[in-house]
Structures are given as C-alpha cells and as structure tokens.
C-alpha cells in the first residue's frame, strides 16, 4: 500500500508542474506584448497602473524561462497577487470565500444526481429495451440536450416571475437578517431548488447511462449466472451481487467529474447569481482581471489533482486488484 501511494504521489508531481506550465502558456497566448493587449479597454490611468502590476506580477520584460521560474517561485509561496478589481484584494482571499459555496452546491447536486441515476441505470439495464428503458433513455437525453441556461431562464420565468414561488437569484433573501430561525432555513433551501434542479436534470444522463452500461456488462458475467443458479432471488442477485460490481466504474467516473465539482457550473452560477467559483471566473473574464483568472485556473486544477490523488488512494484501499495491478482501469 505504501508503494502504491508513493507511486501515485510521484505521478502527481510532474502533473502539478504541467498545470503551472499550461497556465503560463495561457498568459502568453495573446499576440504581441500581452500587456498592451489586455489593458486596451481600461481607462489610461488604471491601464498604466494595471500594466505596471502585470509586468511586476509576471516579470514580462525578462526572458521566458526566467519569467516562468519567477512565477513558479511566487506560486510556491502561495502568492497569487492582487485582483485588478477596484477592491484590489488578494486573489487567494477572493477564491477562499467562493470555494465553499461552490463545493457545497456541487456536493448536494452530485448526491441528488446519484440518487436518481443509479436506480434509473439499474432498472433500465435489467429491463433493456422495455418501455421503462426507452422512456428513461429519452428523458435523460432530453436532460443532456436541454441547454442549462435556457432551462434556467424558463424556470425562472415560471417559478419566480409568474408564480412567485421561488426566488430567482442569489443564495439569501435581502431580509435574511430579520427572518426567524426556520424561515432562514427555508429561505436558503428555496434559493437552492432552481439551480440544483437545472444542474441535476442536465447531469442525469452521464451517470445513468454509465450505470446502465456497466450493469449490462455485469449481468452477463459468470458469477451472476452462478448466483442465479444457486437459487438466489433475482432481487438479491441484482441488488447485491451485480450492483456492487457495477458501481466500480461509477466511482471512476465520479473521480473524472471532480474538476466540475470544484470549478462549479459557470453557467448555472452566472444565471442564478450564486457567488461561487464559476461566477467569479466569468466576472473576472469580463473585467479582464488577469490575476484572478490565473489564480482560479491554477488553484482549481491543483485542487482537482489533489482530489484525484485521494480518490486513487481510496480506490486502491477498496480494490486490491488496482493496488497490485498498477494503473487504474479507465
């Protein structure tokens, strides 16, 4: 187990370097001198100031390898610079405020998706081509195909504007301070219903299809036949023997969806004005707030890398085949 963990950590180190390298490449995408380009639409005053900051932050007057090295050193000290926005707060602080909100939202959303997707996948696999299978196939595909921004607009129009049942945006009512204890809880929940509903409908397809596929493969295995042959009830065969094995690939897919979990849904957060990572990213793109953009990119991907590593270790603990066989099957 020790060697397995060590191997995973050693693989993660070059990836971490790669993250910084790709992010560094992104800064240099702009044609010509990046500074001239980005600050074009700011006022001359703030533009000159921003240029100075950019030059200092990235050392743009030095040769590329030196720039990269200096940037790496600053990153190692967790110095992501300050936001270009008028508040000028440290990037790290801004991200720290928003990360918990996005994480909370996405963990709840993921739990709800799994709650629906696993039973749908299992039932449509055990009754392949039945009416249930066809209906859920169309339903989850509709969910995938419905543009989330459009669905969100329609839901806001119906539930917030016309019916007035649910709030259209934000996480808290403006009168939050004056609400009673229970009202506060309801207020918070009611703000979550629409965004989580939209995201769940869109995310259902991926997991339920994987679950169906995985279940279809497992029920054809010999050990399922032997479980049936020894007279176990179909409910036990499917619910216990097959389900456990069919869940393994789902865990892998769960690992792959980590970047989305940490980065958050950019579109959902923007439409519902949820102060999370996705909204921060869109705002900083519009404000050309480069330190925040770069900080976001590096921090979110690094956290994803760490989360992947932990998932790999957990996976190795659960499944000895992986620990001994080396790479996780993907």
């Amino acid at each position: 187990m020790f060697w397995y963990v060590l191997r995973r950590v050693l693989i993660a180190v070059p990836l971490l370097l790669g993250i910084t390298f790709i992010s560094f490449l992104v800064i240099h995408l702009a044609p010509g001198d990046p500074v001239d380009f980005h600050t074009g639409d700011l006022s001359p005053d703030s533009s000159a100031q921003a240029k100075q900051m950019l030059r200092k932050q990235y050392g743009l007057d030095k040769p590329l390898p030196v720039q990269y090295w200096n940037w790496l050193i600053r990153l190692a000290r967790l110095d992501f610079g300050r936001s270009f926005a008028p508040d000028g707060r440290p990037v790290l602080q801004k991200i720290g405020e928003r990360l918990p909100i996005t994480l909370m939202l996405n963990v709840v959303e993921m739990a709800i998706i799994l709650l629906f997707a696993v039973p749908i996948g299992v039932l449509s696999a055990t009754r392949q081509y039945s009416r249930f299978d066809k209906a859920t196939t169309v339903f989850v595909f509709m969910g995938f195909a419905t543009p989330d921004f459009w669905f969100a607009l329609l839901l806001i129009l119906l539930f917030a504007v016309h019916l007035g049942w649910l709030p259209a945006s934000g996480l808290r009512d403006i009168n939050w301070e004056y609400l009673s204890f229970w009202k506060r809880h309801w207020d918070f929940l009611s703000h979550l219903i629409l965004p989580i509903g939209v995201a769940t409908f869109g995310g259902l397809a991926g997991f339920s299809r994987y679950m169906r596929q995985s279940m279809l493969e497992v029920v054809r295995q010999d050990y399922i036949q032997s479980a049936r042959a020894k007279g176990l009830a179909e409910r036990v065969v499917i619910g216990k023997h097959a389900l456990r094995n069919a869940m393994l690939p789902i865990v892998t897919i769960l690992g792959l969806s980590l970047p989305g979990l940490i980065g958050g849904s950019v579109i959902v957060e923007s439409i519902f004005a949820i102060p999370g990572m996705g909204q921060l990213m869109v705002q900083s793109v519009f404000q050309r707030d480069y330190p925040v953009i770069m900080g976001n990119l590096v921090i979110v991907s690094t956290l994803t890398l760490v989360a992947n590593l932990l998932a790999d270790v957990a996976y190795g603990l659960v499944d000895p085949r992986i620990r001994l066989g080396g790479r996780r099957r993907q």
């Binding site: 693989i11 070059p14 990836l15 790669g18 993250i19 790709i22 992010s23 992104v26 800064i27 995408l29 702009a30 990046p34 380009f37 980005h38 009754r127 392949q128 081509y129 039945s130 169309v138 595909f141 509709m142 995938f144 195909a145 419905t146 543009p147 921004f149 459009w150 669905f151 607009l153 329609l154 129009l157 504007v161 279809l216 054809r220 792959l256 970047p259 989305g260 940490i262 980065g263 950019v266 579109i267 923007s270 996705g278 990213m281 869109v282 900083s284 793109v285 519009f286 050309r288 480069y290 953009i293 770069m294 976001n296 990119l297 979110v300 991907s301 994803t304 890398l305 992947n308 993907q330």
Partner: protein, 286 residues
C-alpha cells in the same frame, strides 16, 4: 457492415435522430435560399413583433427577423460543431496512434498529457483562454477543439494496444512495412469505429459549449447570429418577447438530442456484444 445497418435500422430512436440530423444539415446548407429576410437588417418599425405570417418567429429588439437569424445561426452551430470536433479528432488520432503503437516513453508522455488536460475544468480553461484572445468564430472553434481531444486519444490508444498484437499487423511488420504504413493502412482503419461514435457524440457537446459561451457573451461575437447570442440578447426581454428565448433554446435541444440519439444508436449497432444481449432481453420482455 450489413449487420451494422440491420441493427441500426431496427433502432427507431436512432433513425429519427439521423433523419433530423440530415434535415438540419440541409437547412444549414440551403440557408441563403431559404431565409426570407436579411438576418442583419434592422427595422425600427418592427421592434419585437410577435410571430406572424411575414415574420414566422417574430422579430428581435432591433427589428431583425428571428427566423432568418436562426437559420444563419444553425450554420454557425453546425460549423463550430464539425470543425472543433474535427480538430479534436485529428489531434486525438495522431497522439493516440503514436502512444498506442510505440508504447514506452511516448505512451507515458501522451497519457500524462491527457491526465493533465483532464485536471482542468473544461469551461474554466475555455474562459481563461478566451480572456486573452480576440473573440471570433475561428478562435471559438479552435479553442473548443484544442480542449477536447483527450477522449479520442484514449479511445484510439486502446484500440491500437489490442490491434497491434493481431496477426495481420505483426505479419506486415515482419515483411518490412514502415511504422507509418502499418499505422495508416492496417491499424487505423480498424480503429476508427469508436472514433466515429465519439465524434457523433462530440458534435452536440461542442454545439452546447458554443451556445453556452455565446449566451454568456464570450462566444461568437455579433453581428454573427448564433442560437446562443440570440438567447443572450433575448433574455433581457423574455417577458415581452418570449419567442426570442424559446425558439433558439428549442433549436439547440432538438439538434443536440438528435445527434445524441444517432450517436448512441451507432454505438449500439457497432458493439456486437450488446447487440446479442439486446436480442436476448427483447425476447424475454416479449
């Protein structure tokens, strides 16, 4: 091949999807002949007119004909879908073949690169890159393509790993065929089926991504009409001009759904194991 068509023709959902895909492609190609109005001509006398006989889907806040704009938008969506998936598939095929055929260091490097790209949330990477570039339809295509090649790379590599041990490959290597020839003539043609499926499923994903970016106002810039930016402009007036928001969204939904049904159908038809099992289960459920 005959089995494939037989299996596909039995899948009604996939056939409907395929028919809609062909219909949309025809619309996009014939757009200049079909569009009743100039998509970019404003008309101050017709601001936010509801759908009528002269303007089938109404007009927008500048008095432009929404039906014509949506027709032109379909060209943008399909072009972005096809080109970006083409870019992604080309990169994926080259890297996947190299990794799968050579193994060793090359394979390790390519697969680490894939892992690396997968660590970035797709939309974050897109936004970060677009923040530094001048927006245009070409940058959107390029950026979506350049951030979406990892799946194809993995698929092609996996196919190569199993195919390169087969007799016909080993034989042609033994009679002295060059590596390039073995890859190009012998392995690749046999490895393309899953790539085709991935591409069919990649097009709707790219269309959704483009419309999402355009909806945020970071995608294809005006005056190009796209389904995403019609929606973006229409959301301000959604209560007066519902047609500006409802129709483009429906168009995206129908397009994405059709491509997905077709793609899944092709996948099921290509996978003989599933087909067999399908037959068995159909018989059972009567």
């Amino acid at each position: 091949m005959k089995d494939f068509w037989k299996a596909l023709s039995r899948n009604r959902l996939a056939l409907v999807g395929g028919a809609v895909v062909l219909f949309l492609a025809a619309l996009a190609i014939l757009t200049p002949a079909l569009a009743p109005w100039d998509p970019n001509r404003p008309d101050v006398k017709k601001i936010l007119d509801p759908p009528s006989r002269t303007h089938l889907l109404g007009t927008d806040q500048l008095g432009r004909d929404v039906f014509s704009r949506m027709l032109y938008g379909s060209r943008v969506s399909l072009a972005v879908g096809f080109v970006s998936v083409g870019i992604a598939a080309a990169i994926g095929i080259v890297l996947g073949s190299l990794a799968g055929y050579n193994g060793g260091m090359v394979d390790g490097f390519v697969m680490r690169l894939v892992d690396l790209m997968l660590v970035f949330p797709r939309f974050f990477l897109l936004l970060a890159v677009l923040a530094f570039l001048t927006p245009s339809i070409w940058t959107i295509m390029a950026v979506i393509g350049l951030t979406g090649w990892m799946g194809v790379t993995r698929l092609v590599r996996a196919e190569f790993l199993s195919l390169k041990e087969r007799e016909f490959v080993v034989w042609s290597q033994n009679v002295g065929a060059t590596g390039f020839r073995v890859i190009w003539r012998h392995i690749l043609p046999n490895a393309l089926a899953p790539v085709l499926v991935a591409m069919t499923l990649g097009i709707p994903a790219a269309i959704l991504t483009e419309s999402g970016l355009s909806f945020l106002g970071i995608g294809v810039p005006p005056p190009h009409a796209t389904w995403g930016n019609i929606l973006n402009e229409g959301k301000e007036t959604i209560e007066i001009g519902w047609w500006l928001s409802v129709y483009p969204g429906l168009a995206i939904l129908v397009t994405v759904l059709s491509y997905n049904l077709l793609g899944e159908g092709i996948r099921d038809a290509l996978d003989p194991r599933l087909r067999q099992a399908g037959g068995r289960f159909v018989a059972r459920s009567g």
